[in-house]
């Protein structure tokens, strides 16, 4: 991280409006965000703050109503393998085994059979699912499903991994373990991660930088660099200082004082 930052994702004055029951809703207004290569950025905010909308714009699932969403200075044309998405509800293909799910991307892109096989085995062991390689998604626990979802994105050579509250549906212990594993993978691969969460603690534990968003209309409120050394101690006093500061920023939008 000591090298000069190279911007990979550039969000310029992006606004997004949705039409809902004849009413226009500002999901996102004038968002500006630059994400550097190899950076771990968390988007945090209450529901309706546009954090998922922003993520989906970067993924290419939504197009901005105004403004530009760029990757490597080129407008994002639509969903594609460079920007892999990990959904909260996994989005695994139920008719494919763990192996099949991970092979889906490389196969779609016309890789040779031998190449696909090697890639699949490599990423199955990266997420530690060797014993479950031939299991179907409905036979897996939530944590294992999310490992498959991460592996299939990495197996497809994603440069940016977009994660939409990926651990939100998991129990606390599984969530902690997956956070550790995700950081481990991120540090080893040099991926860029854009991670949406509503957990302050999760954001501080994971991120290089936290982007605080606020609702009505959804917009970027402020940013905060987290320079605590990793692995981070969630009960350390400097961790708590950041937690309090973020809590204040988040709750100020509700007109409510933080405790």
């Amino acid at each position: 991280m000591s090298k000069a930052p190279i911007p990979i994702i550039d969000i310029r004055n992006v606004s997004k409006q949705f039409e809902m029951q004849g009413q226009r809703i500002d999901a996102l207004r004038d968002a500006n965000l630059r994400i550097n290569k190899g950076e771990f950025v968390c988007l945090i905010g209450a529901s309706g703050c546009g954090k998922s909308t922003l993520l989906r714009i970067v993924a290419g699932f939504e197009t901005p109503t105004r403004g530009d969403a760029l990757m490597w200075d080129v407008p994002i044309p639509g969903p594609g393998p460079q920007r892999g998405m990990v959904f909260q509800d996994y989005g695994l293909f139920p008719w494919l085994t763990v192996r099949g799910n991970i092979a889906f991307g490389p196969k779609s892109r016309g890789r040779s059979t031998a190449e696909v096989r090697d890639t699949v085995e490599r990423f199955i062991s990266l997420v530690g699912l060797q014993k479950f390689a031939d299991a179907y998604p409905h036979q897996l626990s939530g944590g294992m499903k999310q490992r498959v979802a991460i592996a299939r994105v990495l197996a497809n050579d994603a440069e940016v991994v977009l994660m939409d509250e990926p651990f939100g549906a998991l129990d606390a212990m599984t969530r902690d373990r997956l956070q550790d594993e995700l950081l481990d993978i991120w540090q080893r691969t040099g991926l860029t991660v854009l991670f949406v969460t509503h957990s302050i603690e999760e954001a501080i534990f994971l991120a290089d930088r936290i982007v605080v968003m606020s609702p009505g209309p959804g917009r970027i409120d402020s940013e905060m660099e987290i320079s605590l050394p990793r692995p981070r101690d969630v009960v350390a006093s400097d961790f708590n200082d950041i937690r309090r500061e973020l809590s204040l920023r988040l709750h100020s939008h509700h007109g409510r004082k933080a405790a």
Partner: protein, 287 residues
């Protein structure tokens, strides 16, 4: 990292094993119990039937014994030695070929049509309203028209059976295609599978369980309409002998035909279910 994963890997399978292991005799008894309970009701019905018809020489409804003898005679002959003796295989094969033939034609037409109606808005707007209006028309209502269009004989029978199987397959295929989780399209497109390629890699596999349910219902309907289908003046078939026996007041033949249709339909449904279970192991609905 690997040590923590090992614990995860070990938890899930061992937990299910504990739940399954309490007794090895239990599953056998559960199976037997099911069988005993399933047989209890028909036996009771047989006894009531026997008591109501026993010793009445001129009853219009034959006793279970008469029906059993007639079934035996239909299959092996040697009791009545009339036109029906030993004719079971001929009639059964004729009906089976019509049921499966009509069903196959229905499936070949309905599955692709359902996929297109479910997936392509233009085709849906073009065909769906008409099909929705034609669907409630019973197969029996088509009988006269079918005999005019296809003539007396097996072609009409095929058409009617095919019609009976067509709509359940079509409706379930459309439902299957339309209820594919939109998330899967997003997942496929961010993995590099876009446009028409999604049809074979997402739509088709995702809707297979629903298509399969449609095929199962369609085959069931094919058996249901076989009697109507064979009212079209064909000489052979289970429906044909039922209609003929009706004119001759041979009620025991009618009941024999009903029993054979029931059993054949049941076995064919079991076959489809077994096929579904082995092909759709991935789907929680078929395990």
């Amino acid at each position: 990292m690997s040590s923590s994963l090992d614990t995860v890997s070990n938890i899930t399978p061992s937990r299910t094993e504990v739940e399954r292991s309490p007794s090895r005799i239990a599953p056998i008894w559960t199976k037997l119990r099911g069988l005993v309970l399933a047989i209890l009701f028909p036996i009771a019905m047989l006894i009531i039937w026997h008591l109501l018809t026993y010793g009445r020489k001129y009853s219009l409804i034959p006793s279970p014994t008469d029906v059993a003898l007639s079934l035996y005679d239909l299959a092996f002959g040697g009791i009545n030695d009339d036109a029906y003796s030993q004719s079971l295989m001929t009639h059964l094969l004729a009906s089976v070929s019509r049921v499966y033939g009509g069903f196959a034609i229905a499936a070949i037409a309905a599955v692709p049509l359902g996929l297109m109606i479910g997936r392509i808005p233009l085709i849906r707007s073009l065909l769906d309203p008409t099909l929705q209006i034609m669907r409630p028309v019973p197969v029996t209502a088509w009988l006269p028209l079918s005999m005019i269009m296809f003539g007396l004989g097996p072609r009409s029978a095929f058409f009617l059976v095919c019609l009976g199987a067509f709509y359940p397959i079509l409706v379930n295929t459309i439902f299957g295609v339309r209820s594919v989780d939109p998330r899967l399209f997003e997942a496929a497109s961010m993995l590099g599978c876009q446009g028409p390629a999604q049809f074979f890699r997402v739509v088709l596999p995702a809707s297979l369980p629903a298509i399969f349910t449609g095929l199962r219902l369609g085959l069931g309907f094919a058996w249901v309409v076989i009697v109507v289908g064979e009212m079209t003046g064909v000489q052979t078939g289970l429906g044909a002998i039922i209609m003929e026996a009706r004119q001759l007041s041979r009620t025991e033949i009618i009941i024999s035909g009903m029993i054979i249709i029931g059993v054949a339909g049941f076995l064919s449904d079991r076959m489809v279910m077994w096929l579904g279970k082995s092909l759709l192991r991935w789907s929680p609905n078929f395990v």
